[in-house]
């Protein structure tokens, strides 16, 4: 009997979480031994696209909210990582500049554009039947018609392009589905939005969404810490992810420790670091509960 419990504890120790719950993104989502993603620069420029936001000016609350979201990851003492606002653009394109295809060395010459943009129309409603963009070889309706083509209740989507061998990120874009979701910027304790209302209330909170996405853009995956910005799920109208939790800060500073090179998975650095497993953090409390139940049953 003791041997059985001991074996369970050995299993538990093998999966035991580290102090942190943050998780890094790997080049191959199916291979956790593959390199982790990182930017090889500490200042990552971004542009905010005005397209999809008819009438919005540089001072609009919506752009303020976007900048505030990205700034969350910049104002962290233990890291010198920064998102740099390069102003507004008219860009409607995501993905990777074709000039750079299979020419990673050109990335330093031809700067990729990291764009945050809203799609305010569904592709299925604006793309004419038979248009060339629908050809699978093109598959560029979203960029050509500035439309949302992902469907299925997807609210926001992040595309990251990187060196598959090293994990170095070349380009990242965030698209927001304004065609189907009403993003709001009101602060708590504003009430939840009711059908038909969108001002002075909280619906799909823009900062909650974009702060989370910006964490992915720098190389973080989903955390096992329910308090963290990088936690998997959010309730409707949630605003908790607007502000970083300690686990998010640990993750950022692990990848981009101030004054030191970015860490890659498996590399030992001074900061609490390396790839961790959210599953381990979920597993341990669950295991402890189970062990307690086993012990109670036997006493």
């Amino acid at each position: 009997m003791r041997a059985g419990v001991a074996a369970a504890l050995v299993v538990a120790l093998g999966l035991a979480p580290r102090a942190e719950a943050f998780v890094r993104t790997h080049v191959d989502p199916n291979d956790l031994e593959s390199p982790c993603l990182f930017w090889d620069r500490r200042t990552v420029p971004y542009q905010l696209s005005q397209r999809g936001l008819i009438g919005a000016t540089d001072e609009s609350p919506i752009f303020d909210s976007l900048r505030t979201s990205l700034r969350q990851w910049t104002d962290v003492a233990c890291s010198d990582f920064a998102y740099e606002d390069q102003g507004l653009s008219q860009s409607v394109e995501v993905g990777f500049n074709k000039v750079l295809l299979n020419q990673p060395m050109l990335v330093e010459v031809v700067k990729p554009e990291n764009t945050v943009l809203f799609r305010d129309a569904l592709c299925e409603q604006v793309v004419p039947a038979g248009d060339a963009c629908l050809d699978p070889a093109n598959d560029d309706c979203a960029s050509r018609f500035d439309c949302w083509g992902y469907g299925d209740g997807v609210i926001a989507l992040t595309t990251t392009t990187y060196n598959f061998q090293t994990g170095e990120i070349f380009d990242g874009d965030i698209e927001l589905n304004e065609a189907e979701f009403q993003f709001t910027t009101a602060d708590p304790p504003a009430p939840s939005c009711q059908p038909g209302s969108s001002t002075g209330c909280i619906g799909t909170d823009l900062r909650n969404t974009v702060t989370h996405e910006a964490g992915h853009l720098l190389g973080l995956g989903h955390s096992g810490d329910p308090e963290s910005t990088m936690f998997l799920s959010a309730g409707s109208g949630e605003t908790l992810k607007r502000d970083l939790a300690q686990d998010d800060i640990d993750g950022l500073c692990s990848i981009y420790p101030a004054g030191k090179p970015p860490s890659t998975c498996g590399e030992i650095v001074d900061a609490p670091s390396g790839c961790s497993s959210a599953e381990g953090d979920l597993a341990l409390p669950w295991l402890l509960v189970m062990l307690c139940l086993v012990r109670r049953r036997r006493t």
């Binding site: 059985g4 538990a12 989502p29 997807v154 609210i155 392009t161 597993a283």
Partner: protein, 181 residues
Amino acid sequence: MRSLAAIAVSLALLASAAPASASVALDLSIEQLTAKADVVVRGKVVGQESAWTRGGRIVTTVHLAVEAALKGQSSGTVALEHLGGHVGDIGQQISGEVAFQNGEEVVVFLRAPKQPGSKYRVVGMSQGKFHLTHQGASIIAKQSLDGLGLIRKPGGAIEEQPGQAISLEALRARISAAAAP
């Protein structure tokens, strides 16, 4: 010992989910996935290849040997496509998008192609794939919600936790019930 075996199985299930980057989508139940799908099949991944599109995206085509159609009609091998993959030294992840491994056994919820020459697409990004694992005589189905943040609709009818393991038998029953006219 049964409890310890349960612990080991549960830990294995927990460990099988892989972390990744994320998009955000509405949480879809098995019933909602079934309703949105034209075809639901159980099958095995027999091959996949990735290519660039002119739009600057990488798209991966997955070939699936169909073992059974759980909704709609399908047999032989179906080709489905998803965003992301890698071509040469460049990789691209559309966070939250589904991903497959060769030899993987799955149940997938598929939307029929809308254009000639197009392929099936998985419904609900990574929510639309259940990875199958053999556990003795039973088969466990589980979503890998890599990179997909989920928002629950207020007042939604979803009771289970996203990514929760379910027996293949129970999954089939729920799909059949949801697909019934």
